[in-house]
Point group: C2
């Protein structure tokens, strides 16, 4: 607790935080681990906070926020730190509220098919418990060590969104602490309500700028026992994206519907030593692959759907259709989920995740290609084809040129009716692009909404909007 | 346009509105049809507005709102007027913006599986068009003449919510006009986005108190070709509600999962002359019925699921299990959807639609029974058992006693973790209960959010919150 390396003015704050959460749960100055001062964003700037506090319960979170409000100290929430946009990066002169101690699964409610969890609960932790009940929380962003609180803050998505939607669609209620320390409950263990403004949905995806989440009610589903994974190479991206709406319209209801371009597929199979049984000729001539995963309660129905899907894909111009053995399928899906780490390992300079109407993917990728050529950048891609959510690894070292390229890439997505981020969020890393490209009337409205929650601007200033702490 | 029966001060306003929308599309004074000054709420007070204006497009809506903002004139939106909470009832001294002319289906986008519609489009109008594409917009509140704009305002639900969720889950984007006339677009033709606060979700269910909706993007689904309806009488309500989570957990994924109590079933079969094949003995001893509808792409899968469901229901204590012939099934579902009209025809004094966690239905109904006895009221019920959304027809003529009863009924639902309204909304009819029972901190936050949109309080004052027009 004693932190002689911090200024006197901060000393009292740290002492008071220690009184709230216990001295062992406040960390200040040089004793703050470097791991705690950044998330996984490749470009977001990070700073050291005054202190990292780890509250044990909602009452402590409330007391910490009331103190921070009173002293006008910026507050940044931290879950597992696996975000990709710098939204968990501390603010200079601010404190970090880490939810590592609030990691209890409070309830698995089988009658209402919901789980109630604290924000520090990790996806893999929840999944392990749910598996024993044959249930599943269906949001699977690539990183399973992510926390539920972080998932709420970023409205996390992932590959199964084509069937189950994203975090927003699976969270039914929250307990949140407002900046002045007030605790409110939103929503509940029900799907429908028209009883005032939907505060749950407003907090989801707000990246820690409105309130701190201290409890989450999520929907659960029966865990389908049978899965199959189909891989289909196509000669052009147009063929791939033309196939997607037909697959959706077929009524087969895929669990996963991804595309992987040739650059990413080659790097993926090489990096992870995958053998998918694709012929060399196809490997050399395919432009992109569709990966489609189906799930079903009945093995025979699954077999029939795989057959129908195979015939459909062939009709739609697939060069071949592979039904992957379970082991290879698992490896491919795992590898696809590690696309970010692959990009990082290959020294990508940034990763983007714009979203467009799924039928606009070819147009977007045409713009991407033209921009890559013009900027002399490498851009490799894969994405949630069923959702129009395109993940790009951008290789262009020069910061200024890359910033200009990103601006044009985001602009291209928005011109197609899309948005800057499908699931990573704006955070601190993409904020200047968001502020430059978004409708000023919408930005002004968002600032007013932010002020309705956070009149002093203490909640994660610098993330999403340009609101600063007011004296 | 000439309206000699209105005060001079209002005359200029009406003239100016005529300049915006064309004189034929402003109606004032006695020429306003009585049909336009109320919705279907049984208890909401209604007033005559200064004028009813019918804009032709977004630009006209914008100009009307800018004028209303400037003159501090209250504005109430009106779709088909089928709401049940008085949210479309005009405010004294206010104007009504009727969306009857903005009833165009702008686009059926087969590649992105969405429709883009104007707010005046009716559900039955959209459904007829979608049927020709073998597509469906899956939100089916009981009243198919309802408008999409009204559905957005009330976050309309209906029987299929157990499978497809409610309006909130199916609307991907909006065009809305803010009170000062600014036009913004929210969301888009995609399911996932983490690009700022979710304004779409905030406007949905806000009952016209934040902004006017001028365009709606909704998700579409393949229309499953095969349906089956199963009717199962149970001796007690506890048996019914105990069965519901088991049906959900079975993985059968019902399209509809309703309960109908004996009072409502008797009235329904009598009123609509339904013959469901239920034996007299069961008719006399059953306390409540479950109605379960399944849909499937494959007739054989449907048959198997019906068989599995039948066995499950028998295990769960069903007195019998009837697979209804298509005609009878259609009649029963239609009749169930007309429960409101049935209550009205039987001179119900109010209809309620509280929502609770579905496993809490027995406890709620126990409270309902006790309260009915204590207040000497008749209360008949049916409801969306899969969603915990209980519809009650309340028969108690004395206004004061009924208000006290409602207060206690809502309190009972909230004590069980529920909310006042699952889908009807708060409107003007339930506002005083909402203000009396809701957490004051949440109400204060909602008022601040309202002010962020509507600083002068012109949007549907008197609905939902107690915000008044500021000079």
């Amino acid at each position: 607790m004693d932190a002689p390396d911090v200024p006197i003015a901060q000393h009292a704050l740290i002492a008071r935080l220690g009184e709230i959460v216990g001295p062992d749960h406040v960390c200040a100055g040089d004793r703050i681990s470097d791991d705690l001062v950044h998330d996984e964003s490749l470009t977001a700037v990070h700073h050291r906070p005054i202190a990292v506090v780890s509250p044990a319960d909602t009452a402590q979170v409330s007391a910490v926020l009331a103190l921070a409000s009173d002293r006008r100290v910026p507050v940044t929430a931290r879950g597992s730190g696996t975000g990709l946009s710098g939204a968990a990066n501390p603010v200079p002169g601010g404190i970090v509220v880490s939810f590592e101690r609030m990691d209890t699964i409070l309830e698995i409610d089988l009658d209402n098919n919901v789980a109630v969890v604290q924000p520090g609960v990790r996806l893999d932790q929840l999944d392990a418990v749910l598996a024993s009940y044959d249930l599943v929380y269906p949001v699977f962003p690539g990183e399973y060590s992510a926390s539920l609180g972080g998932n709420v803050a970023t409205n996390a998505g992932g590959m199964r969104a084509v069937k189950y939607g994203v975090t927003r669609h699976q969270v039914l209620g929250l307990e949140v602490v407002l900046p002045d320390g007030e605790v409110i409950r939103t929503g509940g263990k029900f799907v429908k309500s028209t009883t005032g403004y939907d505060l749950t949905q407003l907090v989801i995806g707000s990246e820690g700028t409105l309130a701190l989440v201290t409890e989450v009610i999520v929907r659960l589903y029966p865990r389908a026992p049978h899965q199959a994974t189909v891989l289909a190479p196509f000669p052009t991206l147009d063929d791939v994206t033309a196939a997607v709406p037909k697959v959706v319209a077929s009524g087969i209801d895929p669990l996963v519907l991804e595309y992987i371009d040739i650059l990413t597929m080659t790097a993926t199979t090489r990096q992870f030593g995958l053998e998918l049984g694709v012929s060399d000729e196809i490997k050399e001539t395919a432009y992109a692959y569709l990966v489609i995963m189906l799930e079903d309660n009945h093995l025979d129905d699954l077999g029939r759907d795989v057959e129908v899907l195979g015939a459909l894909l062939t009709d739609l111009g697939a060069m071949d259709v592979y039904v992957l053995p379970a082991a290879a399928a698992g490896q491919l899906i795992d590898a696809r989920e590690k696309a970010f780490w692959l990009a990082k390992a290959n020294n990508a300079d940034d990763v983007l995740d714009m979203v467009v109407p799924r039928a606009a993917i070819p147009k977007l990728m045409q713009s991407v290609g033209e921009l890559a050529t013009r900027y002399q950048a490498w851009i490799a891609g894969c994405g949630h084809a069923g959702d129009g959510n395109v993940h790009l690894g951008v290789f262009l070292a020069d910061d200024e040129a890359r910033e200009a390229l990103l601006h044009e890439l985001f602009q291209a997505a928005m011109a197609l009716g899309g948005a800057i981020s499908g699931e990573h969020g704006i955070g601190t890393a993409k904020r200047h692009h968001f502020l430059a490209l978004e409708d000023p009337n919408k930005l002004a409205l968002m600032r007013r909404i932010k002020a309705a929650f956070d009149p002093h601007g203490i909640m994660n200033p610098g993330t999403l909007l340009d609101v600063e702490v007011t004296p």
